[in-house]
Amino acid sequence: MSAPLLDMENLTVRFHGERTVHAVNGVSLTLQSGETLGILGESGSGKSVTLKTLLRLLPENRAEIGGTLRVDGHDVLALQGRALADHRGRTVSMVFQDPMLALDPVYRIGDQIAETVMRHEGCSRSEAMARALDMFKNVQMPSPERRLRAYPHEMSGGMRQRAMIALALACRPKLLLADEPTTALDATVQIQILLLLRDLQRQFGMGMIFVTHDIGVVVEVSDRVAVMYAGEIIETGTVHDIIRDARHPYTKGLLAANLHGAVKGARLNAISGAPPSLERKPNACSFAPRCPVARETCASELPPNVAVGTQRQVRCVLAQE
């Protein structure tokens, strides 16, 4: 097997400040090029922090990053200066949740895309604008020539998200990161953007990491799924494994809470309590206080990472049986 596009080993991220937050606690991931990984988790699970680490977007003076992180053979944590700038947008690119915040309000969309292309590929302005138009056609932007000259506020939410995808893909990145890109969109627009990302990922043959809190969205786009809780991956497997045969009690709870096919009026099998505060590095199963099937050992020892078959791992003592 060829070397993976992304190889993340034992990543830890700790934020220092008034109080310390252990946001990511030993996350290991690999991704082949052409593969889509969905990271599923609730707020505070560390999914967005993991993604931002891949672009080195975390504040350097406050975030302490440990572990190793290689993308396309480069050690991302060692990148500096020009090499880091080349990495961002060229090797790895990102689509954010709110395009209104991610796009610059005072420049036309076409100029923003062209600027990126000129910076990374050193081509002329007219070549860069041609690429921008090409990208607008790729993302099925309605009347693309006219929209290149539009400002972000002149577009609807769905069009802005298409523009941001065009910007992110303009330099043909090898890895696309998508951080809840459809969460702020209406249902009928969300499905359009999901299908667009799925098609572009195939067409460009890039790796994609798709972060979301919505299981339904994960199922639509991912090959593999990693479920995060309290800064750890608690279960990973193919999308079939996770949907049909979830092993971790938290994954099971999330599936039940999605209400897909829930009987009207029946009581929901809700996970009680709330996620931990992450002020200390976990020394036991983080989910144990909320777990309906927890045992004594769960509260005193770190759970093993149990391999189930070749493709999946479950961080739970019960998976050993």
Binding site: T188, Q192, L195, I243, G253, H260, R267, I271
Partner: protein, 334 residues
């Protein structure tokens, strides 16, 4: 005889004028709610679904009289608002829980004070109001000894939303309007709050108006569902009718836009293209005809009214179902 509904809204209209044109003139009118009518029976839950700009939140605010309609009437228990019942009395009987649990609590009030505030303003003694606040905290699953003295920033989102529900209960209301009340919560916490809402409804005989963009949640909570599009009712009916036999092409599109939850049967084709149009200048005729795959010539010319279908209270605003409309299609495929 059919008993009179607990609440009835007839032909509600609310337009917002856009200011900022030349010399302060109006730049246009947002037709947020245009001729919307519905009833609420005692003890039922009416779900309202639709995309942004469809007028569901404006409808919610009209129900509690946070804003006054430009036209139309509201009656509660057979009493006409403004004539037989005052806005003050109506608001006591219809309470609301908003989406943003943090913004809807005063950051300077403890949870006890936040809940007791309304009753005190309405003449309850401070001791009684404090006692009531503790009872309500207990009722929504927050231990009063731990939570009564806390401020909003010391609570999680789910806990704050429980406090907002407790505050809504302080006047023993008949109706609670829940406007995206669980949308900002994480899934595992959302399920807890939905269970709480179901328990309270059973215990207290409440009537809910449940507004959400999440169709799974609406199906779970509602007895009847009202689908809105650009300020108008597209379809209204029992939850079974809406989800298993949608009659409006927009309802059908909303349902098929839901993620499939089955990796072997992924959605291949988006049911609709483009974004919902702007409610400032809604399309003429049927407002949905610009995005409708089944649209015919009549759809751009004549506005369809709500038409009754077989099935309990099932109504749809679509020419396909109106006899004699000459629409080329006779049925809607889900």
């Amino acid at each position: 005889m059919i008993p009179a509904p607990l609440f009835s809204a007839q032909n509600l209209v609310k337009h917002f004028r856009l200011k900022g044109g030349f010399l302060g003139s109006s730049r246009g009118v947002v037709r947020a709610v245009d001729n919307v009518s519905f009833d609420l029976a005692e003890g039922e839950t009416l779900g309202i679904v639709g995309e942004s700009g469809c007028g569901k939140s404006t409808t919610a605010r009209l129900i509690v009289d946070l804003i006054s309609p430009d036209a139309g009437t509201i009656t509660l228990g057979g009493k006409l608002l403004g004539k037989h019942i005052s806005a003050r009395e109506l608001r006591r009987q219809i309470q609301m829980v908003f989406q943003d649990s943090y913004a809807s609590l005063n950051p300077r009030l403890t949870m006890e004070d936040a809940i007791a505030f309304g009753p005190k303003v309405n003449g309850m003694s401070p001791q009684q109001a404090a006692r009531l606040a503790h009872e309500l905290l207990e009722r929504v699953g927050l231990e009063p000894r731990r939570f009564a003295g806390r401020y909003p920033h010391e609570l999680s989102g789910g806990q704050r939303q429980r406090v907002n529900i407790a505050r809504a209960l302080a006047f023993s209301p008949k109706i609670i309007v829940l406007d995206e009340s669980v949308s900002a919560l994480d899934k595992s916490v959302e399920a807890q709050v939905l269970n709480l809402l179901a328990d309270l409804k059973a215990e207290l005989g409440l009537t809910y108006v449940f507004i959400s963009h999440d169709l799974n949640v609406v199906r779970h909570m509602s007895d009847r569902v009202m689908v809105m599009y650009l300020g108008q009712v597209a379809e209204i009916g029992t939850v079974e009718a809406i989800y298993s036999a949608p009659a409006h092409p927009y309802t059908a599109a909303l349902l098929s836009a839901m993620p499939s939850m089955d990796p072997d049967r992924r959605t291949m084709e988006p049911p609709l293209t483009g974004d919902p149009p702007n409610p400032i200048n809604p399309p003429a005729g049927c407002r949905f005809h610009t995005r409708c795959k089944l649209a015919d010539t009549i759809c751009g010319a004549v506005e369809p009214g709500l038409f009754g279908l077989p099935g309990e209270g099932h109504q749809v605003a679509c020419h396909i179902h109106i006899p004699g409309s000459n629409h080329r299609n006779r049925r809607v495929e889900a």
